[in-house]
């Protein structure tokens, strides 16, 4: 779990990076700790990461592929004095979906194979409909035009960058998404001279059933289908939650998608025999034949880790928010921007910087034209559509 805290809090560090190291040392580690301990380590780390990684996304504007859509509603709540609430909502989603998925496990054992074989053929058309809906749901023709331009531009951007050899595929998403959603949001905040108001730790009470159910369904979709990640699922959920009051439900759903995706991807190993994430690939290498005992071990680890992951997330968030409040936000924003640029150069070199710059300019286009930034999700959706066609 400690490793999951580290990977979650540091932008650009992913659990897959640690998993590669674990697998490289698996021979020695298996002798010392055994299969069960290693599986528990991987599962706990992957789960904890999904809770903690919303903290840099919401507080620092540094998203990952899995939580990229949290930046805007999270940032809005932060500028409203409710940054803690935003993070808490994502944790509610994570806990809610874990509980719902655990209770409905017998149903999932039947549903997942059907989903896997049934929906795959229709997925590109569903995603195309989503893109059309993103464009035509804007409330005037000027915004529809700009949204269409951004969908086309970000779709071409995604296809060019993700399907070429321009950059190491292991690191390419970091500059893409940081540019589109992170740096552009921070630059625009600087332009508007945003300041972080005093933050409240009192929260709006609610059950957020819609968010939890949406998050669970989205996580199943992302966890089972190839080339569909939490972000693509989140876009589908977002279209179902259009009202202002739904922003909280959306953050819950996003937290849920992120967490349930990581677990469903491992369960998919048992149910359909195919791994769907770095963590599940690692589990498959450690235990080539997943049986009921392995499944129960994973479920037990998930339920046990969830409690501690939530506790850590909320307390670390409080500490970080108290620190952020004391700092001049524009200075903090500049510092974060420099930090993100350093990370991009460190992980992906000058090419990554060029990619991030292009992504940033598209993100700024979205801000300047006043359209929803979810249009930029075409960067992942278009390559997914092309993959399935």
């Amino acid at each position: 779990m400690a490793v999951g805290v580290f990977t979650g809090l540091i932008p650009g560090i992913h659990v897959n990076t640690v998993i590669v190291i674990v697998l490289a040392m698996s021979g020695a580690l298996l002798e010392i700790f055994g299969h069960q301990a290693l599986i528990a380590f991987i599962v706990a780390m992957a789960l904890t990461h999904t809770f903690l990684d919303f903290i840099p996304s919401i507080l620092l504007g540094a998203p990952t592929e899995d939580n990229v859509l949290s930046v805007l509603p999270g940032h809005r709540l932060l500028l409203d004095g409710r940054g803690y609430e935003a993070i808490r909502l994502t944790s509610i989603g994570g806990v809610g979906t874990i509980l719902l998925a655990s209770l409905s496990l017998p149903l999932l054992l039947v549903l997942i194979p059907i989903l896997y074989s049934g929906i795959k053929a229709y997925l590109p058309y569903i995603l195309m409909l989503v893109l059309f809906f993103i464009v035509f749901s804007e409330n005037n023709n000027r915004k529809r035009f700009y949204t269409a331009v951004l969908v086309i531009y970000s779709g071409i951007f995604g296809q060019l960058v993700l399907e070429s050899n321009i950059l190491n595929p292991q690191v390419v998403l970091f500059p893409v998404l940081t540019g589109l959603f992170g740096i552009s949001t921070l630059l625009f905040s600087l332009n508007l001279n945003s300041t972080i108001p005093p933050q409240w730790f009192e929260v709006h009470k609610g059950w957020y059933f819609r968010g939890i159910i949406g998050g669970t369904l989205g996580g199943i979709l992302a966890g089972v289908l190839p080339a569909v990640g939490s972000s693509q699922s989140a876009v589908l959920i977002q279209q179902a939650m259009k009202n202002e009051n739904d922003e909280r439900d959306f953050l819950v759903a996003l937290g849920g998608v992120n967490t349930s995706d990581s677990i469903i991807a491992i369960l998919a190993l048992y149910i359909i025999g195919n791994p769907r994430s770095g963590a599940s690939i690692a589990v498959e290498k450690l235990v080539p034949q997943m049986d009921t005992g392995g499944l129960l071990l994973i479920l037990g680890t998930v339920l046990f880790s969830t409690f501690f992951a939530v506790f850590l997330t909320l307390n670390i968030a409080k500490i970080m928010i108290l620190q952020i409040e004391r700092i001049d936000y524009s200075r903090l924003t500049r510092g974060i921007l420099v930090f993100l640029v350093i990370l991009i150069v460190a992980f992906s070199g000058f090419t990554g910087l060029v990619i991030a710059a292009v992504g940033t300019s598209m993100g700024i286009m979205a801000h300047a034209s006043g359209v929803r930034k979810s249009s930029l999700m075409a960067v992942l959706i278009v390559p997914t559509i092309i993959y399935f066609l």
Binding site: Y153, F157, L160, N165, N168, S361, M362, M365, A368
Partner: protein, 124 residues
């Protein structure tokens, strides 16, 4: 900065950026690689391999698994069922192929996975 000016500048930069990235992509297009020189660090990259078809395995779900060998090594080329249908019988008697695809890892082995019929060319 006024929104309209910001919009125009960001539009121009985005357009220029896409053209630059396109040019960079063309420059880094894959070229034919020795199979023996492929390693796990290249997973995710597009590669081109050329060699003799030494084995052909037909899966019950319609997938075809070719083993392609050159003088440096051999590699599996899985042709999944939807692509196999499009290719038809074109590769049935093919003894030498050139394959462009994404280098992937599956169960500790490297594979080159083609995506379109044009990614596999029968040379002989």
């Amino acid at each position: 900065m006024k929104e309209k000016g910001l919009l125009s500048i960001s539009f121009l930069i985005s357009t220029a950026g896409l053209l630059i990235i396109f040019a960079m992509g063309q420059y880094s297009a894959p070229c034919t690689t020795d199979i023996g020189s492929l390693d796990f660090d290249q997973v995710g990259y597009n590669v081109i391999v050329k060699g003799e078809v030494i084995d052909r395995n037909y899966h019950k779900d319609g997938h075809i698994f070719l083993t392609v060998k050159d003088n440096t090594g051999s590699i599996i080329v899985p042709i999944f069922s939807n692509l196999a249908v499009e290719i038809g019988t074109r590769l049935d008697d093919c003894r030498e192929v050139e394959v462009m695809g994404k280098l992937e890892e599956y169960r500790d082995n490297l594979e080159v996975i083609p995506r379109e019929p044009g990614d596999i060319v029968c040379l002989r």
